[in-house]
């Protein structure tokens, strides 16, 4: 377990380096570069002063080194557009994306597993085909378009759900704001969980111990739910780790459609304002979210499946 943790830590650090380096060099080597964030009417002397103050005259590799050194001490710099520390701006937005993400995962795991089991139990019948058809549709609809269409239907025409924003006076109101964003974010994750549960169930059902439990005369329900499902779910846990980056990508669009004040919106604002420190900060935190969630998934996985204890070797 310790060996596994160390290996994981190494991989995480490498991942963080790759992501931050790509983002940093992308922004700094682009035409226009960091100086383009300055005011248009700044004089030459002012430009020089600002460049000096921000350390923009150093070589880009040196600047990246500085950034990494500061980041290691928890200092992500100051947001150019508002003058607040980057950490504060992220701390404002982070909880919203976290909540949205957790609800989405919960929703897609529960619905995905249930639908996947239905699909497997009715293999090659119309139910199975219908579920498969629905999964492919979910993966094929542009999420922002689905969002706009849902707003058109549920907010404008029917008036059932609020079209944007967060919070509300009543618990029901703040809950209702989650419904559409969660459903749309789930179109990226739910179909994969359904497919995975289905194929995993089908594989388990053909195993000998299932045949044995059937031969013993156990009820079909007992066979499916207490013998097959338990083992079928193990690989499903592992796929959640893969789905988290995909879901976070989805937040960029969904948060923009629904005016959700989370990290996805923040990166759009930061990129448009060329707020380099903020872009770097959001990228790091989002990557760290992925790393942390993958780590949790791995721990759960090794707890559930005794066979993967020696995962690191």
């Amino acid at each position: 377990m310790l060996q596994f943790a160390i290996k994981r830590l190494w991989q995480s650090i490498i991942l963080l380096f790759i992501v931050t380096a790509i983002t940093f060099f992308l922004m700094n080597l682009a035409p226009g570069g960091p100086s383009s964030m300055m005011r248009m009417d700044a004089t030459e002397a002012e430009r020089e002063a600002i460049a000096e103050q921000l350390g923009l005259n150093d070589h880009v590799v040196v600047r990246y080194g500085h950034w990494v050194a500061n980041a290691f001490q928890g200092d992500l710099g100051v947001s150019f557009s508002t003058g607040q520390p980057v950490m504060d701006r992220i701390a404002e937005r982070f909880p919203y994306t976290l909540k949205l993400g957790l609800w989405t995962i919960l929703f897609s795991v529960i619905i995905g597993i249930v639908v996947g089991i239905i699909s497997a139990k009715n293999r090659n019948t119309w139910k199975d085909h219908l579920i498969n058809f629905g999964s492919v549709i979910g993966l094929s609809v542009p999420s922002f378009w689905l969002g706009i269409m849902m707003i058109l239907l549920f907010s404008v025409t029917l008036g059932w759900l609020p079209s944007s924003g967060v919070g509300g006076d009543t618990l029901f109101e703040s809950f209702s704001r989650y419904i559409m964003p969660v459903v749309i974010l789930s179109t990226a994750t739910l179909p994969t969980i359904v497919r995975f549960t289905r194929s995993s169930m089908l594989e388990v059902i053909s195993q000998n111990y299932i045949r044995t439990s059937r031969a013993k005369g156990l009820k079909e329900k007992t066979v499916v739910y207490s013998h097959a499902l338990r083992n079928a779910l193990i690989p499903v846990i592992s796929i959640i780790g893969v789905l988290i980056p995909r879901m976070l990508s989805g937040t960029v669009i969904v948060e923009s459609v629904f005016g959700w004040p989370g990290m996805g919106r923040l990166i759009v604002e930061a990129a448009q304002a060329r707020d380099y420190n903020l872009v770097m900060g959001v990228t790091v935190i989002v990557t760290a979210m992925v790393i942390l969630s993958n780590f949790i998934v791995d721990i759960v996985y090794s707890k559930v499946d005794p066979r993967v204890k020696n995962i690191g070797n």
Partner: protein
């Protein structure tokens, strides 16, 4: 092995595969309908403008947001442009961007996967670790930053989509290369003195092609979706050039009054992506025995 024998074996092995390909595809009704739909939509989009010759960019402010008529079968948009001809012109760009992104994705992913699989050792370790790392990046964040700072030309859109979505294909090709490089006919070819490049191109690559076809079909679907999402954020191909994605973005402000402007391109994108996904799934069932339904 004499040349005649080699030819004969090829004939035995290959001919039935290609001859029965369409037959097998027609058994999978959904995939077959998807293929027919895709052929039709490409014909309409690329040949349609020769028949429907209205200029998609010519504006007519007095006739803005008109509903359908004989003159404008799908009505006009906010600048009085003919929606039908813009759907055709936009479809061309969307489909071409999807196809081009897929080609670049396959090149990048294919090279990385094949090199890692074929050469093994530290090259393998570095490349596949990098692939794994890229897979766990929420890549839309990178897409967004890249397009904001690098500009929004069609070429940039294609490159950025390719550079953030090559990983799945790299893994598929990597797995296939590992599988085939140990096989007997590859060993035989090497032992008869073929260079490693020749072996790779002549014997390994043909085995991989079915997987590449499946991945690229699904890749086009992904690229079209990405293009539309990028356009939604205003970072895609810029107006007046129409794409289905930027038509949707433009329609957003009129969505409450003229919902049809937003519904049409969205339905078009969904149907094309759906068809590519179904076709890809169907092709996988036929071409890739590993995935065949039990």
């Amino acid at each position: 092995m004499s040349q005649a024998q080699e030819v004969e074996i090829k004939a035995v092995k290959r001919e039935p595969r290609f001859r029965s390909f369409l037959k097998e595809l027609s058994k999978n009704k959904v995939a077959f309908i998807a293929l027919i739909f895709l052929v039709l939509i490409h014909v309409v989009v690329f040949l349609g403008p020769f028949i429907w010759t209205v200029n998609p960019d010519s504006t007519d402010p007095r006739n803005a947001l008109a509903s359908w008529s004989l003159e404008h079968p799908l009505g006009t948009d906010d600048l009085g442009r003919d929606v039908f001809s813009r759907m055709l012109a936009g479809g061309q760009i969307t489909l071409l961007v999807g196809f081009a992104s897929m080609v670049f994705t396959v090149i990048v992913g294919g090279l990385i996967g094949a090199i890692a699989g074929y050469f093994g050792g530290w090259i393998d370790t570095i490349l596949m670790r990098f692939t794994e790392a890229m897979l766990s990046v929420p890549n839309f964040f990178l897409v967004l930053v890249a397009l904001t700072v690098l500009g929004k030309s069609p070429f940039m859109v294609i490159i950025v989509i390719a550079l953030t979505s090559w990983m799945e294909i790299a893994r598929v090709i990597y797995g296939e290369t590992l599988r085939w490089k140990e096989s007997e006919f590859v060993e035989a070819s090497a032992s008869m003195g073929s260079s490693s490049i020749r072996t790779l191109l002549k014997h390994v690559v043909p085995q991989i092609i079915p997987s590449v076809i499946v991945s690229s079909t699904l890749g086009i679907a992904w690229a079209i979706l990405s293009e539309s999402a990028i356009s939604y954020l205003g970072l895609g191909i810029q107006p007046p050039t129409a794409t289905w994605g930027n038509m949707l973005q433009n329609a957003q402000q009129y969505i409450w009054t003229e919902p049809i402007l937003g519904i049409l391109p969205g339905v078009a994108i969904t149907l094309v992506v759906l068809a590519y996904n179904f076709l890809g799934d169907g092709l996988r069932d036929i071409l890739d025995p590993k995935y065949q339904k039990k």
